[in-house]
Assembly symmetry: none
Homo-oligomer: 242 residues x 2
Amino acid sequence: MTASTGKTAFKHEALYTALRTEIGATLRPHDPLPSERELVARFGVSRATVRQAVGRLEEEGLVYRSQGAGTFVADPSTISKSLALTSFSEDMRSRRLTPDSRLLDLTLVPAGVTVARDLSLSPGAEVAHVRRLRLADGLPMCVEEVWLPTERIGGLDAGTVAGSLYDALAGRGVQPHHADQVISATVVDADQAALLGVAPYSPALRVDRITYTEAGVAVERAESMYRADRYDFRITVTRRTP
Amino acid sequence: MTASTGKTAFKHEALYTALRTEIGATLRPHDPLPSERELVARFGVSRATVRQAVGRLEEEGLVYRSQGAGTFVADPSTISKSLALTSFSEDMRSRRLTPDSRLLDLTLVPAGVTVARDLSLSPGAEVAHVRRLRLADGLPMCVEEVWLPTERIGGLDAGTVAGSLYDALAGRGVQPHHADQVISATVVDADQAALLGVAPYSPALRVDRITYTEAGVAVERAESMYRADRYDFRITVTRRTP
DNA sequence: TAGTGGTCTAGACCACCCT
DNA sequence: GGGTGGTCTAGACCACTAT
């Protein structure tokens, strides 16, 4: 069933993927996972490898562990957004929603002042402009506008931007590494309201993001407007008291 | 030097604390940490234990690892401030604004259903309810509502809640350690609009927070409504290689 | 080539939960 | 008491980086 894409070289990744699939398919919230020792036997790996895979599931909020009792599937309503850089598609899947996309615009344009500055481009350099309506389980979730410097990532076509843009970038050898995000509140305009299926001036969570490679080269600038009634940001913060 | 507080039973915690202290004291940004194998020898533990301790430092953004090269102290300027649990006063000062507070309400009330659940209290247990208008450089920034379980933190008076609530808690021996935050977008009602000096139905960034001590005891539940035109959340997120 | 972090094994003991 | 997750050991090989 889990037809490997050929990229999963590590055992803990293969196990992680297998467990993730099973959680999404057959297990219900609060169902117990097989015990770690049973996974050792079933997958033919060591317990350390099992714990690495389950640990990642726990980090991502898909399961919770209870010492002495077992590991259980988390309640989706309590899934927290982690601080990992994720594409919309990945984010939705981690919330156990099916992502989809409707392309609204895909054009090559000269970079404006703001885009050029954020991407460290010469003003007027060519950028690909992508505007998409993003859906979760078929319902509008956000309107997203993205600018990509073509000189750094190559050209784009409609097929490429149908799914995860991060996958498309990775396919061109461009690996997103980190991003600066600004989260703010706003209200939608008439156009956005129509796309999202809400009344004009409804509240929206706005996320502005600039994505960089490991070398610090900006490869994406994105503005996303999320429906406030369907999306929030959950983070756990710890106190620094040195 | 590392005068144990008596609670650190695990080797990886002791090592984590030792490394954390060294990072804060003698090491500079981008300085290399001792290699994992050297830490094995120096602390007399296995490499798995070393990796657990260093892994926690990496999770918290204090160090970064580079395969084949080493582990290095992270640059503090790239540590996102929003990942730290801060009080309003601390947050404002870090933005170089002067915080102030206007007390709107301070009463002892029985905990409602939601508050009791979030703070793990018996329904009807006594909580202190604090409502404050928070100012930055003299201008309204947010309306904040806080519930505190009096049985865990003692009584409160107007003088105590004039400034930083976290300072007040620390003065009673209650140390906030971490918090779960939910960030969402909404619009203000007429009352909040009047206090914040904006039009009704203006957008606002809403932050719901439950604060815990190190032992996991909930000591504060807070709801804050920030003026959207004066406040945003900035975080740097990094990619987990999928 | 030598050293580093990343992965992995096959054990072990402990603290805790459930019945 | 039996099973679970949490911690820990003492090795090993691999992929990568620096020189």
